[in-house]
């Protein structure tokens, strides 16, 4: 169990800055998820914590001790690699106890740990097998077991689910969450999958281009994104981000000064019924319906803001790039929507988010 603190971590690879002054704290027993698009620096940050990369600037403090200059072996952290990195020539059992043997832990203790970990992860029957004789899911569990067996201060997970199929991924995700609840070891978990991030995290850290964009609970980040990047990254589907210029003039005037982008979540939109009058201050989105994607419990109705009332509908293309800033998705409870026709959507004023010209939240 430990607290981790990163202070102003900077790292440049070649001439490319990867991390630009990252500050982060992980409290004792917390599961912190670093999430961001690929290339945002999250894996590099994890490697800096593990000691596999040395930061150009900044400090890594683990349990009050500055470990920045220490080698990985002296940090007492365990890491689950994206590739699992199981030792191919060693049996599952020997993989599990590799670290313990290096630490010269007594044989009796090693046997206890193996029994405990294999019980916890259901590895009992696999102990004698080689990694190549295991399925992807089993390898993943062995990799986790290897980390758990050492009882480190800190667990580091580097996209551990990305090589599993969707069904298995959901199952293992739940297992990881349950394991963390049981072990309560401080954990830093890296993923590019925001759904994984949302479901697992005690606290979410959104990274973009080596800079922390927001730190908060999954719900906070979802409900009050700190900027346009976070709004567009977190959530399935991501938040609808509309250019204020493209909005209905009445709505535009009601927005705070400096608002360049209006955000609204798909599930907070609703269709305006025929003959229904909107109260003053309630936003109005006149859209032309482009397509409907049935997702099961709801359908995603894709629309594009139509030109003002009475004006001719703009030529619409299904190309995603075309009409960026004017396209939006409505998470509709219905399977049907009039494709090619106009609809009027609305949302509660409290569901609207305003972002300034630089993407900052207003």
């Amino acid at each position: 169990m430990a607290e981790l603190s990163l202070e102003g971590i900077e790292k440049t690879l070649g001439s490319t800055p990867i991390l630009r002054g990252v500050d982060l704290d992980a409290r004792d027993g917390e599961l912190v998820v670093l999430v961001g698009a690929s290339g945002c620096g999250k894996s590099t940050l994890l490697r800096v914590i593990a000691g596999l990369e040395t930061p150009d600037r900044g400090r890594v403090v683990l349990d009050g001790r500055d470990v920045t200059a220490l080698s990985p072996r002296d940090r007492d952290v365990a890491m689950v690699f994206q590739s699992y990195a199981l030792y191919p020539h060693l049996s599952v059992r020997d993989n599990l106890v590799f670290g313990l043997r290096l630490q010269k832990v007594a044989r009796g203790v090693i046997d206890e740990r193996v029994a405990e970990v294999s019980e916890m992860l259901g590895l009992g029957e696999l102990l004698g097998r080689l990694p190549r004789e295991l399925s992807g899911g089993q390898r993943q569990r062995v990799a986790m077991g290897r980390a758990i067996a050492r009882r480190p201060k800190l667990f580091l997970f580097d996209e551990p689910l990305s090589n599993l199929d969707a069904k298995l991924r959901n199952k293992v995700r739940v297992e990881i969450k349950a394991l963390h609840r049981k072990l309560r070891t401080t954990t830093i978990y890296v993923t590019h999958d925001q759904l994984e991030a949302m479901t697992l995290a005690d606290r979410l850290v959104v990274l973009d281009r080596g800079v922390v964009q927001q730190v908060g609970s999954p719900l906070e980040v979802f409900e009050r994104p700190a900027n346009r990047f976070v709004a567009g990254f977190i959530g399935t589907p991501p938040m609808n981000l509309l250019d204020v210029e493209a909005l209905d003039p009445g709505l535009r005037e009601s927005l705070p000064a400096g608002c360049a982008t209006l955000g609204v979540r798909a599930h907070q939109l609703r269709a305006v019924g025929e003959g229904e009058a909107l109260s003053p201050g309630q936003p109005r989105f006149d859209v032309e319906v482009l397509a409907v994607e049935p997702m099961g419990a709801e359908s995603w109705v894709h629309g594009v803001l139509a030109a003002g009332e009475g004006a001719a509908a703009p030529a619409v293309s299904a190309d995603a790039a075309d009409g960026a800033g004017r396209r939006l998705i409505w998470g509709s409870p219905n399977w049907q929507a009039p494709v090619g026709e106009r609809m009027r959507w609305t949302a509660e004023p409290s569901a609207l988010h305003c972002f300034g010209a630089r993407g900052e939240r207003l």
Partner: protein
């Protein structure tokens, strides 16, 4: 049609094997013949089969053959050991680290492969003489080691590069030093390449004739290729004894090959990392 393909493949493999084995069978037949082989015969079958030539080779001159066999085994084994011991860490450094002079080192290693070993015979002779290592097994091990190491480095470097860095990093996070990661993870994962390199080094030393004939003189110090050559002299040729000797010489190499074969497993590292 589907059945014909494997049949054709087997037929092709069988003919290739027979083609390769034919001269070997002739050597064996000559070694086992009690009378000279008639010229013009096609099938390698011995005339008046006997084991006399093997006995002659083995027990001539108070069985000095066994001393010479021990020389060859000792020199070849230590050449393999020295070569792998030097080449493995060197190759690992070449595969994993960036350092000043890396490219130049690789190029100069490659350059040494362009010259035939015999071109260095005279300078090597002078060096061994200077070091008082002429006509010694140590001298020959050093010479063979230096000729084998460059190729061994190239071979092992390729093998180390193919081993995912994740494995070493996992070991280091698990508490290993770089050296422990090398010995406990990288070397075992490179077992097939180490086996091939060992075999290559052993065979190079085992088969080498010219340098051995140049640097060794005492009968009790000779290696088997030099001994064998003496059966086929300028004025007389004892082909039967030569063939018997040649047959005996192949046995240790074959034994080594069979022993190492289990390490030559394709896909040894499968399952270690996904991707």
């Amino acid at each position: 049609m589907k059945r014909l393909v494997p049949v054709a493949v087997h037929a092709a493999l069988l003919s290739a094997t027979l083609f390769a084995l034919y001269p070997v069978l002739w050597v064996l037949a000559t070694a086992l013949s009690g009378a000279p082989m008639r010229s013009g015969r096609v099938l390698p079958w011995p005339e008046q089969p006997t084991l006399r030539h093997f006995a002659d080779v083995l027990f001539r001159d108070d069985a000095i053959f066994f001393t010479q066999l021990a020389n060859s085994l000792f020199i070849a084994a230590f050449t393999a050991l020295v070569a792998v011991a030097i080449a493995a860490p060197a190759a690992y450094a070449m595969a994993r680290f960036e350092f000043v002079g890396k490219r130049a080192s690789l190029r100069s290693l490659l350059a040494t492969q362009m010259f035939p070993g015999v071109a260095a015979a005279i300078p090597l002779y002078l060096i061994l003489d200077f070091l008082n290592l002429l006509d010694t097994r140590t001298g020959l091990i050093l010479v063979y080691g230096s000729t084998v190491v460059p190729f061994a480095i190239f071979q092992l470097r390729t093998a180390f590069e193919a081993i995912p860095v994740d494995l070493e990093e996992a070991a280091m996070v698990d508490g290993a030093t770089r050296a422990q990661a090398f010995f406990r993870v990288v070397l075992p994962a490179a077992r097939p390449a180490l086996a091939v390199t060992t075999l290559f080094a052993f065979m190079t030393a085992w088969n080498e004739f010219i340098l051995a004939a140049t640097f060794l003189s005492a009968e009790s110090r000779l290696t088997l290729p030099v001994v064998l050559q003496r059966y086929v002299g300028e004025h007389s040729a004892n082909w039967a004894a030569f063939s018997a000797g040649a047959t005996l010489v192949t046995i240790p190499v074959m034994a080594l090959f069979f022993w190492l074969q289990r390490h030559l497993v394709a896909g040894l590292n499968a399952g270690g990392v996904k991707g």
